[in-house]
């Protein structure tokens, strides 16, 4: 009789590995009620949430980014706030502000929570806000708390930031600094739908209202799943593979010629953490109690593409981070001992 680990977060229902995959499948199913195609994106966002990280979604407008976030919030029964980032957006518009409020003839300073006090924050077109406003999210994303008016306030649990940015119309935008980018567990790309998917989108959105996502999990389930995912064992040689992949993004340590020539700075340790955390979730979603090389390799692009800073030569030659990272995946042996 095999003992199946059961994870029970304090105050939350227990969940086992099979339940993990089942709940995740149900969440995906609900999201797919309103999202057509974009399988990798849905799986990526869900994996990042299960891994406890924030997601940066990049894609042109109109591809369903906002719908996806709202659908996830509905399926997970999470509170969702959306902030449209604009150049005149102030930090207090995000974290909240202290106002004078009269109560029983007395005037007190009262803190009004900003939209950041939610479970799922959709930061739409985050690169349109000024760096000052962007930095207002730093503490929230890393520490999951907000300091304002001399007081530190914890954010709700769970808390995720799903930011989007438009790769075009860069005029008047403020590209996220590396420190800010590094806070995002993964960066996902939204692809334009295929013809069939586009036709289905039209049918769904121009006719009678369709089905809406229903809650299939609660915040407690989510926390239990996060806790369970962190306990997936990883063999040393698989961890070593992740380390070698990250090291290969550094021009001074890489064995890939193009990296030495075209990369200015390689991925940070957070990149390795992101790869392994995402790989663990992928293993569980695949019904496996351990992390495989495939799991790690599959996370290289989403976890590292926004953490690699390219040189001018790469841009001049039309080489992007994905192409370089793919060369790294192809060039770094998985297990050096295995012929």
């Amino acid at each position: 009789m095999t003992e199946i680990p059961v994870q029970e977060a304090p105050g939350h229902p227990a969940i086992d590995p099979e339940g993990f995959a089942g709940v995740a499948a149900r969440i995906e199913e609900q999201v797919r009620r309103v999202i057509v195609g974009q399988g990798d994106l849905v799986r990526g966002v869900l994996s990042a949430i299960l891994a406890g990280g924030h997601v940066l979604i990049q894609g042109v407008p109109g591809l369903g980014k906002t719908v996806l976030v709202r659908a996830l919030g509905d399926a997970l029964d999470l509170r969702v706030n959306r902030v449209q980032f604009t150049p005149d957006l102030m930090p207090t518009d995000i974290v909240g502000t202290t106002v004078i409020q009269e109560h029983d003839g007395r005037r007190d300073f009262v803190f009004h929570d900003g939209p950041v006090f939610t479970n799922l924050l959709l930061a739409d077109e985050i690169n349109r806000a000024t760096p000052k406003t962007q930095s207002a999210l730093l503490e929230a994303m890393q520490e999951r708390q907000v300091t304002a008016g001399g007081a530190t306030r914890p954010l709700p649990v769970p808390f995720f930031v799903l930011a989007t940015q438009n790769p075009i119309e860069l005029e008047g935008t403020y590209p996220l600094p590396e420190a800010q980018l590094d806070r995002f567990l993964v960066q996902l790309l939204v692809e334009f739908p295929s013809d069939d998917e586009l036709a289905l989108i039209l049918r769904r959105t121009t006719g009678a209202p369709g089905e809406e996502p229903e809650p299939v999990a609660r915040a407690g389930d989510l926390l239990a799943m996060q806790s369970l995912a962190r306990q997936v064992p990883v063999a040393d040689h698989v961890l070593d593979y992740a380390v070698r992949l990250v090291a290969a993004t550094h021009p001074e340590r890489s064995g890939v010629d193009d990296v030495r020539r075209q990369v200015r700075f390689g991925a940070s340790p957070r990149g390795a953490q992101a790869m392994v955390a995402m790989a663990k979730v992928r293993a569980l979603l695949d019904g496996r109690p351990n992390v495989a090389f495939d799991d790690v390799a599959a996370q290289v692009l989403p976890a590292l593409r926004h953490r690699v800073l390219l040189r001018y030569e790469a841009e001049a030659e039309g080489v992007d981070a994905d192409a370089l990272l793919q060369r790294i995946v192809d060039g770094v042996p998985r297990d050096p001992l295995v012929r």
Partner: protein
């Protein structure tokens, strides 16, 4: 089933795979070793074309064994561990790192998923076919490498080098052509001399020997066969030497000293002293024609001088002394006619001697040319042997004969005379009475293995004989008795002639008439016989 049971099952399954992995690694090491050995043979053999010792058996075999052992040690130095086996199985059976992860985390308590991980891994590992985990086909590249190395070695050893072979062939042909040219020149001269004196058997024999040798050498395909034929010709020429010529000339020169001081005899004395035999003959005829006009005192003084000259010539055994003595007696007796006739005989004798001297010079010229051709051809044979990689290895080195000895002599002569050994130095030339030392060695047998047997034969109480009349230093090979079963041949004690044999052989070596590859063999042969070399 508890996680502990699953952990045990997993280890047992991996141990089963590990046994196969060990076998697999041994197979790989052996293949790698054989490949390395093959590569060594190919390399050594190829380099050996430039530096021949690399092609020797000890170097080839020792190097191959060393590389084989080194490859085995390197390949078997580290045996596969369970962890390695698990990782290999994960990779080869797409187990998604389940086995390695379970093996690594299976013993740790408090690890989430431990039980599930162990159960899955144990079940999967038990179902894995060990043969497929480490199949022989994985050694196909090494096997192909071994086959390639073996083929390379075979090509290096077996395949000829066309350009080198062609160059060697051309050099051989040039060597043969040079020998043919020399022989042709000598044969032409000998033929003209023989035509000038049809009744001279020696000239006829010389022309015949050179002509026959020329024909044989023209038909020869290799320098070695040319060398053998030249050795035979050298023996024949030695047999044609005029044994009494030296004594006759020495007698004539000795007589000149006695004739000096008597005025009418001065032209004769000067001519004899200068070795001008035709001039001496003319002076003798002039003296004969004036014999009748000589006064008594002159006759007496001439007679005394001629007596003294006859005595001097007689000491050298010259036949001229008889005629001189007859002329002196006739003059002393006042017999002018007898003196005239005797002096005419002296002149005729000197003419004949001059003719013999010319023949001898021609013969010596032919012998010198033959010796030069022998040396040149011997060098060519050495070059061929080096190219063929046979130097120092062939037991048939004695087949290449040198010098002016009886190279073509049947090896059975040497064998029957010197003991049961096969071939080796058969008959030997030697110092001819009154002639040049005629060295030479060799019969046609394989003499490399005969030394010890011969030494044992001579070292024991057993007495060994060689063909030849007793008392002769070296048998005259030109008159060698035919050795047939039951034939009565004169024999000499080998001990009595071995020193002369050795001396003759060493002189032949010094003249370079023996192929360099055979020189050590000849020296070793006499050394084993207890000689001085």
């Amino acid at each position: 089933m508890t996680p502990t049971d699953d952990a045990r099952r997993l280890r047992e399954a991996l141990a089963r795979l590990r046994r196969r992995a060990v076998l697999d690694r041994r197979t790989g090491a052996v293949l790698a070793g054989l490949t390395a050995a093959g590569m060594w043979v190919a390399l050594a053999w190829s380099l050996g074309r430039a530096w021949q010792p690399l092609q020797s058996l000890p170097v080839l075999a020792g190097g191959a064994a060393a590389t084989l052992v080194a490859a085995l040690v390197a390949g078997l130095r580290r045996m596969p561990t369970l962890s390695w086996v698990a990782r290999m199985a994960d990779a080869r059976f797409q187990q998604q790192e389940r086995l390695a992860t379970a093996l690594e985390h299976g013993d740790a308590t408090g690890v989430a998923f431990r039980a599930q991980l162990l159960a899955e891994a144990a079940g999967r590992a038990a179902a894995l076919p060990a043969r497929d985990a480490f199949p022989l086909r994985h050694h196909r590249p090494r096997g192909l490498a071994f086959i390639a190395a073996a083929a390379l070695a075979a090509v290096a050893v077996l395949v000829a080098r066309p350009h080198v072979d062609l160059a060697m062939q051309r050099a051989d042909q040039a060597s043969i052509a040079a020998a043919v040219q020399d022989l042709q020149r000598q044969a032409g001269a000998a033929a003209r001399a023989a035509a000038a004196a049809p009744d001279d058997p020696r000239r006829k024999a010389l022309a015949g020997a050179l002509s026959a040798a020329l024909g044989d050498v023209r038909r020869a395909q290799t320098p070695q066969s040319v060398l053998e034929r030249l050795s035979e010709l050298s023996d024949q020429l030695r047999g044609l030497a005029d044994p009494g010529l030296a004594a006759e000339i020495q007698g004539a020169v000795a007589a000149a000293g006695a004739l000096t001081g008597v005025d009418p005899l001065s032209p004769l004395a000067r001519a004899l002293g200068a070795g001008d035999l035709s001039g001496a003959a003319a002076a003798a005829r002039a003296l004969a024609s004036s014999a009748g006009q000589l006064g008594a005192p002159a006759r007496q003084s001439i007679a005394q001088a001629l007596h003294a000259a006859a005595a001097s010539a007689a000491q050298s055994g010259s036949a001229l002394s008889t005629q001189l003595d007859a002329a002196a007696t006739a003059l002393q007796q006042g017999n002018a006619a007898g003196a005239k006739q005797a002096l005419q005989s002296v002149a005729q004798q000197l003419d004949t001697l001059q003719q013999r001297q010319q023949d001898d010079r021609q013969l010596n010229a032919a012998r010198d040319a033959t010796g030069a051709d022998q040396r040149q051809t011997a060098q060519r044979v050495d070059a061929d042997r080096r190219a063929a990689g046979q130097t120092g290895q062939s037991g048939s080195a004695a087949a290449v004969v040198g010098g002016e000895g009886s190279g073509k002599a049947p090896s059975s002569q040497g064998a029957s005379a010197l003991g049961p050994a096969q071939g080796g130095a058969g008959e030997q030339g030697g110092p001819q009475p009154g002639g040049q030392p005629a060295g030479g060695s060799g019969g046609q047998g394989a003499g490399a293995s005969g030394g010890g047997t011969r030494a044992a034969a001579l070292g024991a109480n057993e007495q060994v004989f060689v063909p030849g009349p007793p008392g002769a230093q070296v048998p005259d090979t030109s008159q060698a008795p035919v050795l047939l079963p039951g034939a009565a041949v004169p024999l000499s004690d080998a001990r009595s002639v071995i020193a002369a044999f050795e001396q003759a052989a060493l002189e032949a070596l010094d003249r370079g008439e023996v192929a360099a590859g055979d020189r050590d063999l000849v020296r070793q042969y006499f050394s084993t016989l207890g000689g001085s070399s």
